[in-house]
């Protein structure tokens, strides 16, 4: 029973955790946040609010989102905002950072 419950917790997807953080941090209805949502373009999250989200994600996942590097890449035209701020992509980046931390 306990194992099953624990497993259930572990299986909560990265996207679900990120969506919950965004909903709570920015007071956005949870059901409007989908994996396809763009944090900036669709959800209207500005850079200051995104700092709060980054803070919560860093703490929740034990990582450090490389916001400065991402911003630089976007400014230099080497990446698009979609690669980092569409939530399914953001979740994938988080999974990579968590995996890299454990490696």
């Amino acid at each position: 029973m306990f194992t099953h419950k624990f497993k259930g917790l572990m299986m909560t997807s990265t996207f679900d955790r990120v969506a919950t953080i965004i909903a709570e941090t920015c007071d956005i209805p949870r059901d409007t946040i989908t994996p396809e949502s763009h944090a900036i373009d669709d959800l209207g999250i500005d850079s200051l609010d995104f700092l709060d989200i980054a803070f919560a994600i860093d703490k929740a996942f034990g990582i450090k989102l490389p916001l400065e590097k991402w911003t630089q890449e976007v400014n230099d035209g080497k990446a698009t905002t979609e690669q980092y701020f569409v939530l399914s992509n953001l979740s994938a980046r988080i999974d990579e950072l968590v995996a890299a931390k454990g490696a």
Partner: protein, 157 residues
């Protein structure tokens, strides 16, 4: 403190880079034009200046941790509480510690004590960037000298 010039920190008492904590002294002046308006016949340190005092204390800690290469700017104030009145002539102790170091931002917890008693506290968020120009960096170096910023916390010495 020299309120008119936003000099809110008088002296760094302790800077612990390993523990990521700082303690400073800040003495509220007996006289300031600020007190003429806030308030006539009942002078009090404005809450915004107490928040600024906690921000400057947090700022010096960050400058030390970033080896005097980047400048923090206050971006968000949370859970700021003014627990008691601060009046002219009070000697304050201000403490700050790092809650989180993110990429390009830092969250600190800071508090002000008067007579050993907690008077204010806040959680502050800063964005930090490389010093935008030599004038600002030069000014901060002068301020660092004035408040006893430890030389060993400087990158270029």
């Amino acid at each position: 403190m020299n309120l008119e010039y936003f000099h809110l920190i008088d002296r760094i008492v302790q800077l612990d880079l390993a523990e990521r904590k700082i303690t400073v002294e800040a003495n509220v002046p007996q006289h300031s034009t600020i007190f003429e308006g806030h308030f006539p016949g009942y002078p009090l340190m404005p809450g915004v200046l107490l928040i600024e005092t906690m921000a400057q204390t947090s700022g010096w800690l960050q400058i030390a941790l970033m080896k005097f290469e980047r400048m923090p700017f206050l971006a968000a104030v949370k859970e700021a509480k003014m627990r008691s009145f601060i009046t002219p002539g009070e000697a304050l102790t201000v403490e700050a510690g790092i809650e989180h170091e993110g990429s390009g931002f830092t969250v600190t917890n800071a508090k002000i004590l008067s007579g050993g008693k907690l008077a204010c506290n806040a959680t502050l968020t800063f964005r930090h960037v490389p010093f935008p120009n030599t004038e600002l960096r030069g000014h901060m170096e002068v301020m660092a000298e004035r408040i006893g910023f430890p030389q060993q916390a400087r990158a270029d010495v």
